[in-house]
């Protein structure tokens, strides 16, 4: 940690510039935050990103459509399946491909389980940010169960490359149905256990209640989406308001907070896991038999045109803008990463908080730097 002294513009007191990151255990990746403090109070912050910039959008322009799915895995590396889905939906919309029912159900089940796994990771790490070591053990235990199922279906723990244009890679194993039901039983108990362990803990409440407040209007202005926006009381979930895939068939609620503070952002995610379990339950009981992929050409050449797809990733509104010129490679791919926009609001959330809360506020947005920097 470096400390610089400089004369404040605000008062006669001297502001301290404190540099956090880019390598810092609580920044969730390579992220640098420069904080100016007046005593313990934060005067101004300046986020620096780009340490993980790999030019993914540019690489997409020199790959064929099928090859790009693997690149999307590496954007949001905690919610991989959701990123894959976003790209595949965009190509399917452009080529007017109808995805078979069974594939749609498999996609929804896996994406929702991925959401639970992602939120469980958040839960564990957020406990750690607040100084509680135990939640991490519980969070990772639940996440591990989901990862095991993914491994049995996709063959990989993180970089799945399972959702393909037109459907999914292969059919699920024979014991999938049984495994998912057993997993759901575990998860129901697991979420309750996690909830009772941390949510009402007095120390945790004292650290998170009323900290890093942002109201709904400001949040929207900054482009905040997902759980962070819903915590501020705005009812917006792309799965409901602009449904994609087959999400309009399921009955589930949108958890909404009221204060827009760190605790709300935390608790909205806990509740969201319960809603995701409901979706998976409905999907697994209705999953039809049949094809798992539409008949698509080996080399896909969508007609010239452009399409914008919005999806709800675990972190928020994940958009993909695809421009095709009719060749086998896209002319332009633009990813609208939810973490990127959410991180912009950090400035606002950190106004007038204490330096000790900076880590907690940053943790509550749940950023993934792979997605922010692309």
């Amino acid at each position: 940690m470096q400390v610089h002294q400089q004369v404040s513009e605000h008062s006669d007191a001297i502001d301290l510039m404190v540099n956090m990151g880019p390598q810092h255990p609580s920044t969730h990746g390579v992220f640098r935050l420069v904080i100016w403090v007046d005593g313990e109070r934060i005067v101004k912050v300046e986020p620096h990103i780009g340490y993980l910039h790999r030019g993914s959008e540019k690489i997409c322009e020199s790959e064929q459509y099928n090859q790009i799915v693997t690149l999307f895995d590496r954007l949001d590396y905690v919610g991989n399946l959701n990123s894959e889905l976003a790209f595949c939906l965009a190509v399917e919309k452009l080529t007017e491909t109808a995805v078979p029912e069974r594939a749609e159900y498999i996609r929804v089940i896996l994406c929702e389980l991925n959401r639970i796994a992602s939120h469980m990771l958040f839960y564990g790490v957020y406990g750690l940010d607040a100084g509680a070591t135990t939640p991490m053990l519980y969070g990772f235990r639940e996440r591990e169960r989901v990862q095991e199922l993914f491994e049995s279906v996709t063959g990989a723990r993180m970089m799945h490359n399972y959702i393909r244009i037109g459907g999914v890679k292969e059919d699920v194993p024979d014991d999938f149905h049984k495994n998912v039901l057993a997993l759901l039983d575990h998860l129901k108990g697991g979420v309750d256990e996690c909830d009772s362990l941390l949510s009402q803990n007095e120390m945790f409440l004292a650290r998170t209640k009323g900290v890093g407040i942002i109201n709904g209007e400001d949040a929207l202005d900054y482009g905040v989406t997902g759980p962070a926006l819903r915590a501020s009381g705005v009812i917006e979930d792309v799965r409901v308001t602009d449904p994609y895939s087959i999400y309009d068939r399921f009955d589930f609620g949108i958890p909404v907070g009221s204060n827009g503070d760190c605790w709300d952002r935390y608790y909205v995610r806990v509740e969201e896991m319960r809603e995701s379990i409901k979706i998976v339950e409905q999907a697994i009981s209705n999953i039809p038999k049949g094809e798992i992929s539409a008949k698509v050409r080996r080399i896909i050449r969508p007609p010239a045109g452009e399409v914008f797809v919005r999806t709800e990733s675990p972190r928020g509104d994940l958009g993909v803008f695809l421009v095709s010129d009719g060749s086998d490679k896209p002319y332009r791919v633009k990813v609208r990463p939810p973490s990127f926009a959410n991180l912009q609001a950090l400035e606002h959330m950190l106004e007038d908080t204490y330096i000790a809360d900076a880590v907690l506020v940053l943790g509550s947005i749940d950023i993934i730097m792979g997605e922010v920097d692309r």
């Binding site: 452009l94 209007e217 482009g223 008949k295 050409r297 007609p303 045109g305 399409v307």
Partner: protein, 179 residues
């Protein structure tokens, strides 16, 4: 020979400008947009798959955006993303695409602005939507788009000493040197 194949054969590719895809909300937006935009010269409305697209001159951008955000029937309170598409080789333009979503009114649209590639300057929309901040800095970084009426366009994704605009098609992407 199978007849019931849904895949269009290679020769007859379906045109993606399918008006039928636009849902009720999109149709309504299309209608009210047509009335409100009539005053701007060069404004064009088109529909691509399920998105209403408005093409305007870059000088009108700030005014149109203000109108779209603050007039209640539009209520575009959320700027989803700003994209730059590089058509420098064929048409010598950069195309800016602004995707807007109205959370209150439940509709979405895109605004397109063409900029000449020798002087890509566009008014900033930062004063209208704060979310434009990093998207504009990114566009400046990767494509060299200049934004009028805002400060701090320092590199966001690239480092300070980086030269060139790596997002552009003309940037030599595959012949970089090892160091």
């Amino acid at each position: 020979m199978m007849e019931s194949s849904n895949i269009p054969s290679k020769r007859e590719i379906k045109v993606p400008m399918v008006r039928e895809c636009l849902d009720q909300r999109g149709e309504n937006l299309h209608k009210i947009l047509k009335e409100s935009i009539a005053g701007f010269s060069g404004a064009e409305i088109s529909v691509s798959i399920d998105m209403v697209t408005l093409r305007i001159d870059s000088v009108d951008l700030a005014e149109v955006c203000e109108l779209l955000k603050y007039i209640e029937k539009f209520g575009f309170d959320y700027l989803s993303c700003i994209t730059v598409v590089d058509y420098e080789e064929k048409q010598e333009i950069f195309e800016m695409v602004y995707h807007l979503v109205s959370i209150r009114r439940h509709h979405k649209m895109a605004i397109k602005v063409s900029l000449p590639s020798n002087d890509p300057t566009v008014p900033s929309v930062l004063s209208i939507w704060k979310s434009a901040d990093w998207f504009e800095r990114e566009a400046h970084d990767l494509f060299g788009i200049k934004f009028e009426g805002r400060e701090n366009l320092s590199p966001l994704l690239l480092f300070e000493e980086f030269e060139g605009y790596p997002g552009r098609k003309s940037y030599p992407f595959h012949d970089y040197g090892e160091w």
